[in-house]
């Protein structure tokens, strides 16, 4: 179990460090970084290159947003195998719906519970 955690730490840290390097070099905003890594993960998975990372490093590869892109593509490909073209349309969102729905639900609850904070500098 400790080895798994160490692996996750190493790989997760590495992906985040890559993101930080991109930010340092280009001063891109957070949203663009998120979309960039999402597409990176999705394209890698299109050639079946990302799932091996998830298998070896566990959460280290699946927790970063590139893992989100990977599961989107996996969902769409599974959908194709199961239902053909219709599966390609619904598969991606179906696989990632739990994460998005959790963010919406808990975001809504938090937005009702908490008042916006004034940013202190």
């Amino acid at each position: 179990m400790l080895i798994n955690i160490a692996k996750a730490f190493l790989m997760g840290g590495f992906i985040c460090m890559l993101g930080q390097i991109v930010i340092n070099l280009t001063h891109l905003t957070n949203g663009k970084i998120l979309v960039m890594f999402l597409i990176l993960g999705a394209v890698l998975q299109a050639f079946d290159l990302y799932q091996p990372l998830v298998d070896t490093f566990g959460a280290g590869a699946s927790v970063p947003i590139s893992g989100f892109g990977c599961s989107l593509v996996n969902g769409a490909l599974d959908g194709i195998r199961a239902e053909g073209f219709f599966g390609a349309i619904k598969g991606g969102l179906q696989a990632t719906a739990p994460g998005i729905a959790t963010a919406i639900i808990f975001g809504y609850i938090n937005a009702i519970l908490f008042k916006p904070r004034t940013k202190k500098k």
Binding site: I15, G19, N24, L113
Partner: protein
């Protein structure tokens, strides 16, 4: 004669506009230099170190959740989805409490790239714009950053899937 004059005129105007655009460009580059100078400089190595540590810790925490779930008899694939849901929920609460912003200030990409950063990007504007109403404030602003992620993600997964279907892989 008059034609000649006009030609001269147009030439003059062209030159003037050229000079103007050159000056504007110079101003622009000067401005960019100024922005670069004024924006706070933190050492790249230090940024990368903190991004590595915080990002790694978030992923390690996700792995702890997965391992605990698997030990309690949850299937591997379900456990990984469930773990990211728990991380998203925790990050949403941390954003509400204002903890996540503080973390993000020195973690940089370490707090953006993990799925918790996605959650933070959804919840932070939702809290901030609630005062503009529940529908056009909270409901719409929630997707200012998450919207592009979902839209691009769905599009690229669809395109890749269609490619696979056409190529028959």
């Amino acid at each position: 004669m008059s034609q000649n004059f006009e030609q001269k005129d147009t030439k003059l105007i062209e030159e003037q506009s050229k000079i103007r655009s050159f000056k504007n460009q110079k101003k622009k580059t000067l401005y960019m230099d100024y922005v670069f100078e004024v924006s706070p400089k933190s050492s790249h190595v230090k940024n990368m170190f903190w991004a590595y540590v915080i990002g790694g810790l978030i992923c390690a925490f996700g792995q702890v959740i997965i391992d605990l779930l698997v030990q309690n008899g949850v299937e591997d694939k379900v456990a990984s989805v469930f773990a990211s849901c728990i991380l998203v929920a925790l990050a949403a609460c941390a954003t509400g409490l204002g903890v996540y912003d503080k973390l993000g200030r020195f973690a940089g990409a370490g707090s953006t790239v993990p799925i918790t950063g996605f959650s933070n990007a959804m919840v932070a504007p939702a809290i901030e714009f609630r005062s503009e109403g529940m529908i056009y404030g909270l409901g719409a602003k929630m997707f200012t950053v998450a919207g592009p992620v979902v839209v691009n993600g769905v599009m690229i997964s669809f395109v890749i899937a269609v490619f696979h279907l056409v190529l028959g892989v």
